[in-house]
């Protein structure tokens, strides 16, 4: 099974600042996924990160707010830019294995004051 290291595990940030979240996978994967989980809510896909190309964003999410990097097949970052309290959420990265098992990182619990 894929092992994903995600950091930071949590952070408390001031509004207007930016936070970069990192995900490292122990194997090479074509696509990595970034999700947001607002307090008490389900998971919403932010974007799909492909190596060597721009990320594909879901409706309601834009690159200026959530820039993503994917420099190689084992690593990706998500930046939450110009944060406001509404960005307080859990951010999760994930990968698929065997085409039907999705593995998640431990998540980044973000609080914006």
């Amino acid at each position: 099974s894929a092992v994903i290291s995600q950091k930071p595990s949590r952070d408390i940030c001031q509004r207007g600042t930016s936070l970069t979240i990192q995900c490292q996978v122990d194997s090479q994967v074509t696509m990595m996924f970034w999700y947001r989980q607002q307090p008490g809510q389900s998971l919403t896909l932010i974007a799909t990160a492909n190596q060597g190309s721009e990320a594909t964003y879901e409706s309601g999410f834009v690159i200026d707010k959530f820039p993503i990097s994917r420099p190689n097949l084992t690593f990706s970052t998500l930046t939450v830019s110009n944060m406001s309290p509404e960005d307080s959420s859990i951010y999760l990265c994930s990968v698929w294995e065997d085409r039907y098992i999705q593995y998640f990182g431990a998540g980044t619990r973000l609080s914006v004051l």
Binding site: Q41, S42, L92, I101, A106
Partner: protein, 111 residues
């Protein structure tokens, strides 16, 4: 848009009681998957169902996919405190590549 609703939203049970969560999609799903997220944790894959009417068991957990492939259920027999968490269904509406999570059911088990 496509939606996947789960009921109930919350459930409190006494330890030893049974628990069921239902997952209902507005459209047919090509397959369905179930995840468990412990408090403070991340979603963990439990199982995938693919065939219409499919039933799978994992110890005390029984998963079922509806005949029309628009609904599913997860039944836990004789709950234990270790069952506490939020259970999500998820899947791909047929003909799309958009993976959708259900709204989730939060289970609390009282010892």
């Amino acid at each position: 848009g496509q939606q996947v609703m789960q009921i109930p939203q919350y459930q409190h049970v006494q330890e030893g009681e049974d628990f069921t969560t239902y997952c209902n999609s507005s459209t047919t799903l090509s397959n369905i998957q179930w995840y468990k997220q412990r408090p403070g944790g991340h979603p963990v894959f439990l199982i995938q169902l693919v065939k219409s009417g499919e039933v799978k068991k994992q110890k005390r957990l029984t998963f079922q996919f509806g005949e029309a492939k628009k609904n599913s259920s997860l039944h836990i027999t004789a709950t234990q405190t270790t069952d506490v968490g939020t259970y999500f269904c998820a899947g791909w509406p047929s003909g799309t590549y958009k993976y959708i999570f259900g709204t989730g059911t939060r289970l609390k088990v009282l010892a």
